[in-house]
Symmetry: C2
Subunit: 485 residues, 2 copies
């Protein structure tokens, strides 16, 4: 395929994409296929001679579409949103064409620099304390990670490195292995599974802190465990707070937890993967109060800020903490500007020291396009609209005595259930999944099986919320009828 | 921006991308900017009201392009190639539109299944032993990782988990911390820095194995160190072999190393990040002999197989080894087909247990488009053409008595230098970088400062090789003249 053919096929693809998204509502949101459906639809080996482009595009509809869960359907209410917008898609096309691998400043100056400036723009939108920004002559700065899981892991590894050094400074005879075996990380029992996984990877113990009745960790709960663990000779070194937990969008009390972590020399990382986008609205910003105590903060613009996956924004207060945990510099990655000591905001000129992979795409282009095409006001309007839709759904649920709301509706997530047994609610979810008109996933709260309805698609409107609720109540009615018989 | 505007802007972007790539040769390959150039060119904050699309596109040329190192210029010979092709870009547009997050089978059946089938297609192209494929009722299978660094880390963590369990089975009194402190991983002194970083993350010791005169590790070299380490009470558990090292594209002798690792109960991972693509050509496949002894194998189709970054292919012999090291399964990721015990090739239905991040894009679409649009023959032709160009460059260098070739030219990389001091060669590279006509990076081999010329761009032709050589010899001539004065 040459440039001329790409011009033709690319324009067809633009129309294909626009058609798909404009008519997405006509497709069942959840696919009607069984595991293993795809293999029988395609050959067992790659072709030796090229296939025609027409055949490939026919196969997209024949092979791929039947197995798609349509994340951008207005009837998709599962998990949390996966952001998507046209400006982000345009920027991604440009990113593909430039196709640079930004593992050092020299490998792609624009990629390295735009990323740092975009993270400053975004940090300012969130009113992050200046110490987290790169352009304020402080020691902080931002970086794009692939996912919140990676940001958590990076923060835990930096904390581990710092803790080992601190303990060895006080007692140089202690071996790394000995210290490692005493380190303890903490997180909420409601935290995402990736937090526990980060500890597993980092070979450190992790303890779950119990939450209050609203599923949030409070300072006193962490304090109690810390006292016990210190008395037992363990070394608390890391706490991962969650703002907007996955099950119910609960908010840990970082304004009490932060001072405690600081006092105990523990790294506090804040994972606001979903909810973080909302902090650009002044009415939600108070939930971020206490961030000034954190060592690192992360959220996913690829969830709720209209920037297609992947784009997870992470800030640290001291860049050297992160870089110190990862730095390796072979000759083929050195370059002249680095040797000459020229720096870019005092950075070592390479964000690849801030992350697990070495290679990195030009993801900040998507941020730049989206921030400029929407403006701060447009992004705020998007957040407010989706929170409003969640509130509308909450009202519908509250008006029906057969149902209950299971957690405060603060952002775009509603946790609800039929009053009754877990089995009853499991049956309701099975009916919903089977009908394929809307798509939800469950969670567990205090032993209850709970349904989660998250406002996900940019195209979800009030009518979709109403239809979803009618659909749910209709299925609940049928279910309750069956139970009576 | 609505669908109608996206149709217009998207088509303009397709032309913009085609124009950029068609005329890329007119741009200097390496940018003429100083660190920090970008900040002064754009505002310090995001706009409150939207900017116009026209202004953004003007800024792409004004702000971004001056800071781009053009990886797809035919005059780019640095690092290793970053793959790029029109079919991959088309597939990426579709991937953006579908915008699914494939962290479980239910979250996106097509994404989960196409990936497994594409890794089987690719495994067959490489003639991998059947035990690495998912469709052969074995215990193996493939997964797409973001980068080779992540694949290495994943393999090391799986090996760590397996080694700890094995030791504890023999001696249940030994603590994890005690075992961890005795584990040793090994790799070539020529291995990529990410291998050492994986050990750093995994909190295990890593030792560098010396290489022979061709920069390759041989079985006897590893055996010698293993004997010493076992005698000292250490527990060797992991060896990362490299096929195609970053400095000189050297090949470790896996056919001797593999049996040794098997005998010592060590996990052997093979990192063939760059060179792996070439194994689809029968004439290069013998370099992969011995892969049957490996526990995991990885290479980057995003380097040399025309599939845009990121797409790193990894296979394991026993899926359960990887899954066991990572598995966490909260309720919101469970789904009905999983509970019912239905499986897809015996997989636990979720590739997110095979990797560091939880979220994953629909990257197998790029593989599907590229494999079908090129066919095996087209991909082989691409590899052979680039190897041929490297051989042409080698001949030019060999014909000039002032220069020497520093390592065997097996694939698309030529390591060469002026006969003389390291300073002389450093000066030559500085001149090359400053002239911005071609772009190279150096490496260090046996203490010598060496220039690396890698055939990178799909659009590099023989005339570019000739021009590059004329340019290098011209600069060398000037340099040698200066030295004589």
């Amino acid at each position: 395929m040459d440039a001329a053919e790409f011009r033709r096929r690319g324009k067809e693809m633009v129309d294909h994409v626009a058609d798909y998204l404009e008519k997405i509502e006509e497709r069942p949101v959840y696919p009607d296929v069984e595991p293993g459906y795809l293999r029988s639809l395609i050959p067992t080996e790659a072709p030796v001679e090229p296939d025609s482009y027409e055949d490939i595009m026919k196969d997209v509809e024949r092979v791929i579409m039947p197995g798609i869960t349509h994340w951008h359907s207005p009837n998709f209410f599962a998990y949390f949103p996966a952001a998507s917008s046209y400006p982000a898609m345009l920027a991604d096309m440009l990113c593909s064409a430039i196709g640079c691998i930004g593992f050092s400043w020299a490998a792609s100056p624009a990629c390295t620099e735009l990323e740092t400036v975009m993270l400053d723009w975004l940090g300012k939108m969130l009113q992050l304390p200046e110490c987290f920004l790169a352009g304020t002559h402080g020691h902080g700065g931002g970086v794009i990670q692939g996912t919140a899981s990676e940001a958590t892991l990076v923060s835990l590894l930096a904390a581990r490195c710092k803790a080992i050094r601190r303990v060895q400074l006080l007692d140089p005879k202690k071996s790394e292995a000995e210290i490692l075996s005493k380190l303890v990380a903490y997180t909420s029992e409601q935290a995402h599974s990736s937090v526990e996984r980060a500890a597993l990877i980092g070979a450190v113990m992790m303890k779950k802190v119990p939450t209050d009745s609203l599923y949030a960790v409070r300072g006193e709960m962490l304090k109690k465990i810390l006292e016990e663990d210190k008395a037992a000779g363990l070394i608390p070194f890391y706490f991962c707070a969650t703002l907007g937990t996955t099950p119910s969008c609960a908010f840990d009390h970082i304004a009490d937890l932060g001072p405690l972590c600081n006092q105990e020399n523990m790294w506090m990382h804040i994972d606001a993967a979903y909810a973080g986008s909302a902090f650009i609205c002044p009415e939600f910003r108070p939930l971020l109060n206490g961030v000034e105590y954190a060592d690192s903060f992360n959220f996913n613009p690829h969830k709720w800020m209209l920037i297609n996956f992947d784009c997870s924004a992470m800030w640290v207060k001291k860049r050297t903490d992160i870089i110190g945990a990862f730095k390796m510099e072979p000759l083929y990655l050195k370059h002249e500007n680095q040797e000459s000591g020229k720096t870019f905001f005092g950075l070592k000129l390479s964000q690849s020291h801030w992350q697990i992979p070495l290679g990195r795409r030009f993801r900040s282009l998507k941020m730049w396009f989206v921030f400029r095409m929407y403006g701060l006001q447009g992004l705020q309007a998007h957040i407010r609209k989706q929170v409003g839709l969640a509130k509308e759904f909450e009202s519908l649920v509250r008006a029906d005595k057969r149902f209950e709301i299971c957690a405060p509706v603060v952002m775009g997530l509603v946790c609800f259930r039929l009053k009754g047994t877990n089995e009853l609610n499991q049956s309701l979810l099975k009916k919903i999944t089977k009908s394929r008109e809307i798509h939800l996933v469950p969670c567990q709260l205090s032993g209850s099986f709970v349904l989660r309805l998250a406002i996900c698609s940019r195209s979800t409107e009030f009518r979709h919320i109403q239809q979803a609720w009618q659909h749910i109540t209709q299925l609940a009615f049928e279910l309750l009828q069956e139970h009576h018989h």
